[in-house]
Amino acid sequence: MEDLGEIVGEFLLESHENLDQIDRDLVHLEQDPNSRDLISRIFRAIHTIKGTSGFLAFGRLEKLAHAGESLLSKLRDGVQPVTPSTITTLLATIDGVRSLLTAIEENGSEGDVDVESIIVQVNAQMSAEAAPAAAPAVKAPAPAKAAAPAAETPAPLDETPARRAPDPVEGQRRPLGEMLVEAGAAQPVDVGSALQQQIEGDERKLGTILLDEGKAQPAAVSEALQTQTQTPKRSIADSAIRVDVDLLDTLLNMVGELVLARNQLVRGVMDIGDPGLVRSAQRLGMITSELQEGIMKTRMQPIEHIWSKLPRVVRDLSNGLGKQVQLVMQGKETELDRSLLEAVKDPLTHLVRNAVDHGIEEPDRRVASGKSPEGTLTLRAYHEGGHVAVEVADDGAGLNVERIAQKAVENGLLRPEQIASMDRRDIMAMVFQPGFSTAAKVTNVSGRGVGMDVVKTNIENIGGAVSVDSTPGEGTVWRLTIPLTLAIIQALTVDCGDQRYVVPQVAVLELVFIDGNSTKIEYASGAPVYRLRGKLLPLVRLDRALGLNVGGDQGVYIMVLQADGRRFGLVVDRVLNTEEVVVKALNSRFKDIGLYAGATILGDGKVGLILDVSSLARRSHLTADAERSNLEASSRASGAGGTGERLLVTAVGERRVAIPLDTVTRLEEFPRDRIEHAGSREVVQYRGQILPLVRLSHLLGAYSEEPEGDTVSVVVYSEGGRSVALVVDRIVDIAENSTTARRDAEEDGLVGTAVIQQRVTELLDVRRAILAADPNFYNDMTDENLVEV
């Protein structure tokens, strides 16, 4: 019984492979209906499945395969032409076979998979007279004729030899006569008569008969013979064997050990210094490296493996949507680690479906915009800097950036005023946000707003990245960047404290050295930031994140990292170099910490921890928020004016007014025309709230010209769900409060005056300013706040 189990297992494995090939061949055949080569190949594959299933007593499977085979034999014999509807029927048959195989795989029997309806469909495709012979199970039904009018037309290929060699069943070799006719080297009539001679007892070979009778050229015959012997090229069974992946993994680990043992040996040999030994050790070293490379390669598979299902997907989908799509594949031999291929499969399929559904337009719309009615979907895979890039490119209408921006605003992902200053590609990247869809209508394919975020998560889970670029009217390119293997990543090694850590390079955008003079770390309300080309980059100190002693701000490096769509800077002591590291699983007990993505063995043989960039990113937001609320609390407790506090310096008319940074929640720019009036107050709609504004120039009685520009700068202060905005002319700087030269204010609305950055700066009485904007601001607050006053 066990033997049988093994045979069934092998049959399933082989059949699944064959089915994938048939799928591809059928889609091909549709484009090239006259290719006898393809038909024979499909025929042989189905025939094999039929034969084996008969032998293993899978009756229904055999019956279904037989029906498919009958239809194919009609196509092969040219009795019936290849039409899109025959292809559809054949594909349905293949699907039937596939679900039967799945049933067998799952519970050892054929289960209750419905084959009858498929067989009916197949018979309907065959011309009425042929049907009874070919279908033992079902009587040729009446709708058959209606469904397949084309099948009734006489076969166009009457020229084929009437008597061909007996059915080329197993099809190991194609008949020589057929090949000669195809190549135009012999006349069908001559081949026919030569075959007749053979049947009548002539023992000479077909080629010999033709040659002897001068009906064919010797060169053509020998060429055909040569091709004939090479034909079963497709089955690589002779040159390849199946290997258990676990075995490969074990080998890989053992090679890893070998490498380390070699390193120790080489070190020892160097100490001894014997030239003979050194040579042997070096040779051992080289062999080990090559062995390691070889084992790595065994785990690699061409991306074709996952692409092979896509022609079928594209065909079914585009037919269903009434679109014409041509699928072009480039670089299908590009290799990826097996486990990665599996992980990329679903995201890739999703992108392809999405491109057909939303990317490529309907034929009439394409024609209207001056394009060919047939859209092109290009899959491209190539190596790029230690990664594999996989692109899904369509020549459709392109992404509608305005629509995405609008949607992002509706969903509260962006504020309208942000959009003007945003890069087009950053706006497009919003489609990777959860629940984001701009599809006007929901189809069963896409448009439900699930998917792109899943694509992104899946790709990021394997250490990859995904991006999108689009040109209106010309198309969209989705781009996956995938590491070559899960086991080996490009990484930067960094020092923090006295330990070395590893950062995956895919997350690293750039490095900045902080010398403390021209480049420096600043603090916004306790949260470290860096001005990266004018924009504030939130910083995470690695030492702080790891709970180590916090070092200084000078002579350190900022690694600008991107993860989970967030950009942030990681402050480390030193950046050493980039290298390829082998990722080792980390003991499960450290999973809870969350900061480590794994471990690796560094060059010196020590273990190095690989940092999990996205969890650092998440953590950075938590800590920043936590620190801010701490600081807010403490500053309220101690009152304004503590030494060393951070001040936001603003310009109000000619005056400089400083606001304690701790009290600032956010800095915003509002378009001037969004300011509305409620009673005597100015307000602006902000995040679903009405935000009262107070102009510091009015409050302080400053003489202020209306500054130029379409926007106003405001300082937003929020507490307990209420917010007010203080309008200033301009944000000048963030500065440290020096305690020198300070005196109490005589003016209303100020708490004092101080010299900051060598200039006299007034310190704002924040409380008064807030009350001026919203007299009820503190009324809802708890008593503690009142006690403090």
Binding site: L260, L546, R589, I601, V607
Partner: protein
């Protein structure tokens, strides 16, 4: 009479033992990589022929101060549940065959963290060996005070 084999080792002058079949190997190792934010009982990580092994500081598990990881430290590497784990110990002892009749439950006077790690006492010639509960001993999330 039933007997069992124990691998013995010393921590803070006390002799401990684990059944031999739970031990993968014993070796001394120099360099450990600390894991920030990990439970205090984690001494560090080291590289065992390409495999990353977590070393559990038995002293911390016993409620003592951390072991200083300078110079070579002995590791008793346990097969663990799928992934090997190492126990950092002071000194390796012999492998001993112990009859079951030399076994007694832990004395009632034994308390504190050690009590939770120990399944019983074996009376050897001249000294006592505490048999460790392997799962408890490597559980770094066990509450230690």
């Amino acid at each position: 009479m039933a007997s069992r084999q124990f691998a013995t080792f010393e921590v803070a002058d006390q002799l401990f033992g684990v059944e031999v079949h739970t031990v993968q190997e014993v070796l001394s190792y120099n360099e450990y990589t600390p894991v920030p934010l990990a439970p205090p009982a984690v001494g560090g990580l080291f590289n065992l022929r390409g495999q990353v092994i977590a070393a559990v500081d038995l002293r911390v598990q016993l409620g003592l101060a951390r072991k200083a990881l300078q110079g070579p430290v002995m590791n008793v590497i346990l097969r663990g549940d799928g992934e090997p784990v190492s126990l950092l110990v002071d000194r390796i002892g012999e492998v001993v065959d112990l009859d079951d009749d030399t076994f007694e439950p832990p004395p009632d006077t034994l308390s504190g963290p050690t009590r939770e790690l120990v399944v019983g006492t074996f009376k050897l010639d001249g000294r006592l060996m505490l048999a460790l509960d392997v799962n408890q001993a490597v559980d770094t999330y066990r509450a230690t005070n």
